[in-house]
Symmetry: none
């Protein structure tokens, strides 16, 4: 029998204890990108594994070619769903260090937030699903569903080792639905379920011109300048309406449904506040779409880095020998990264002027994804969040990419519930990352209610 | 009495000594653009001043707001010309360092060349006129003309302090003609006199977008990307025929004369050899003009450096907060750099998209120049070069800029003889800069003969 009051009471009584657990985990500098912190990364993984073991789960800390993966599970509950919780215990590098107001690995409570690297991404959000397990285990004889936990230590460095792990342990990881808390609410006081993510196709374009830098007086006008050529090529990748000019780029794009358009329009998005937040006096993008639609549901082409020639102080009069750009397309369902790459190559072959050799290096590729809005799992999550946060969630999309969500669908045949407890201004990946302790508390409540709601679904 | 044999013999006997002097000066990393090398720049200036002093000239190392200027002179020779030799002891930065086969400030002799930053530009060429002074001083009682030397340390950073120096010391610097060796021969075995130079207007364009780098997933498509904007702006600066799109850019350009067109066409310019030399399989530029005309007599706009966002290894998914380009226009007579800047600002104001702040920093500005072809000084130089190199020089223009040449005309009323001893493939401003030791030797001979030829001119 489900004892709601006992669950609520346990989480309320243990609020300080759960916060201390979070502080403990945040104190471990598990920076997966930094080889010097490898021991700390493993220590954080061991911390998570120990906690799951202490709650009675069959837990394994599996070593990989990189950092270890935690896999834990509770017993099967016949006729009830099996739910896989995914999260990660590794964090981004804390740079730039001098912009932190408090040390990144000395968690500090300030204005109701815990400030530390990893607070929201993903230690705080991930722990809510372990806290909820604890609440159930301490107040009930058995769980209402089978819970499996898959917690990795390489999310911030490309998740290279989890894909083969998924393939190898497909049977053990079998589940009906996946739960991930690694995104954000729509706004403070307005929880959200993210039902769509963009994919990404990331490239580096190398242009080679003269064998070496040339004097721009002696040669200028007589040779093709790779930096000018790079600018021309990049510029030609958009038209004047902000549309990407890779051939067939929009052919496979699934347009927004009427329901989605209505939902986007209904959201209280304040464009002026958005511009103030990022510090600009105007925004541009693909014409005919709102700023939210452009960020969540339209494909893009953004430059991430440019480098060519002389970048020091003062003037230097050279024609650079080469020029380079890093850029990516954010993709939406149903765009295929491999097809995009092929069409991009055709465009580059056409755009590249005489006197320049081009090379395109593919660096990342994953498709965008949309999870069906009308499923029993979505309803269960919606009900649980309403109970935990006191407000019904809105359905949003996210501009970012979480490639593992594609893998769960492809390898396990399971959709993912993206239940973000964070806020947009949590400074994810930036200095002074934070996570609201109230969101941590309400996320834990929502998670505990979610296990109940999912346990109501009879799959037999 | 002029003793040709004594001069020739002295220069021949001292060939190794002169080469050692060059190596000594090249070993000083006098990079004027680099504040950390300020002491080295001064040390190079002192080296030149010491050498001129040791040859009996009244020499002054004048400090300026920047790097010191050397002024030295021999006694007046009544009725004979006063000749001002101009050169510079500063050098370009050696970047990119990893493309040098030998360290840029450890001069290395290879295949008859000395390889080092500054070898041809301008330490090697400048020293020929000091070597020739030495040959005269050591073999004759007196010089056939009055020689003045003006050697600066800021040529590679815009020669900012020499202009006021010229104005302040106009009387002391008074001369009939100026001699500068800071250009190139037409080809190996074909010496040349340069009678036309392009001017330059050098800029840095800074674009500022979001207050800090943004996550390209969360924000991509929703904000103006400064790196994309920079590419668009740069690209819009040329049309599809390679014509610069700054308003009124070509309004004041003096077209080539028929005589110049004929001379250009008569030169044995091998376009395939040119492409092989610089390592490209094609060249582009303003349509309707030959490669030589585009390099020597047409105005341009070339990017020298691009920098934005992430330039390290691997992918990083940010929208950069800013983007920057260094670029310049090479100008031909009669374009006015100040007017070009004004028109460029108008273009940028039109091109810059919402969400981006732009700033244009002017870094250099000087007009193009053409020197009369039919003067006694030109004839004297032609004769001296024929004696030194064994071949009559051709008359060419140069794509580079030597802004001081304008100042000599404006402030001193003197034309300049541009007697280039370098070669086009000397890698001026690039890695592995070199100077042929044979050119150094023949340049020294030509310089010594030039003092004699000019001494034949009776101005009384």
């Amino acid at each position: 029998m489900f004892d709601r009051q006992a669950i609520e009471e346990y989480i309320k009584q243990n609020r300080a204890n759960f916060e201390q657990q979070l502080v403990d985990l945040l104190s471990i500098p598990s920076v997966s990108a930094d080889p010097q912190q490898a021991i700390e990364v493993t220590r954080a993984g061991q911390w998570v594994a120990d906690r799951l073991t202490s709650l009675g789960l069959a837990t394994e800390l599996a070593s990989t070619a990189g950092h270890p993966i935690i896999f834990a599970q509770s017993p099967e509950i016949p006729g009830r769903p099996t739910v896989l919780v995914y999260g990660h215990y590794d964090v981004q590098p804390p740079d730039p260090l001098d912009e932190w107001l408090t040390p990144p690995f000395e968690p500090t409570i300030c204005d109701g937030n815990v400030v530390a690297r990893g607070a929201t991404d993903d230690k705080g959000q991930m722990l809510t699903h372990i806290n909820s397990l604890e609440a159930w285990v301490r107040t009930h004889d058995k769980l209402p569903i089978q819970l499996k936990y898959l917690i990795e230590g390489e999310e911030e460095v490309g998740s290279e080792n989890i894909e083969p792990f998924l393939v190898r342990h497909r049977d053990a990881l079998a589940c009906d639905v996946v739960v991930v808390s690694d995104t954000s609410q729509f706004a403070p006081g307005q929880p959200a379920i993210t039902y769509g993510l963009r994919g990404i196709a990331y490239y580096q374009l190398n242009l080679e011109g003269p064998g070496q830098d040339l004097h721009s007086g002696t040669f200028g006008g007589g040779v093709t300048n790779p930096a000018n050529a790079l600018a021309q090529i990049i510029s030609a990748m958009h038209d004047e309406l902000g549309r990407v000019q890779i051939p067939h780029f929009y052919d496979d794009v699934v347009p927004l449904s009427d329901r989605e358009r209505e939902q986007f329009a209904a959201l209280a998005f304040d464009e002026v506040a958005f511009m103030n937040q990022i510090g600009v006096d105007g925004v541009t993008g693909e014409e005919g779409y709102s700023t939210l639609a452009r960020r969540w549901a339209r494909p893009t082409l953004d430059i991430h880095g440019l480098t060519s020639g002389y970048q020091g102080e003062g003037p230097k009069t050279i024609i650079p020998g080469r020029a380079q750009a890093k850029f990516s397309c954010r993709l939406v369902p149903n765009q295929d990264p491999a097809k995009i790459t092929e069409d991009l190559r055709a465009l580059l072959a056409r755009l590249c002027p005489p006197g320049i050799q081009w090379e395109l290096v593919e660096m990342q590729g994953s498709a965008g994804i949309v999870v069906p809005l009308d499923s029993h799992y979505m309803e269960a999550a919606s009900a649980a969040i309403e109970q935990g946060f006191g407000k019904r969630p809105v359905f949003i999309r996210e501009g970012g990419s979480i490639p593992i969500v594609n893998s769960f669908r492809d390898q396990l045949g399971a959709d993912t519930l993206l239940l973000g407890w964070g806020q947009n201004d949590d400074n994810t990946h930036g200095p002074n990352e934070k996570f609201s302790l109230e969101d941590y508390y309400q996320g834990t409540l929502s998670s505990a209610f979610l296990w109940h709601e999912l346990g109501q679904l009879d799959l037999s």
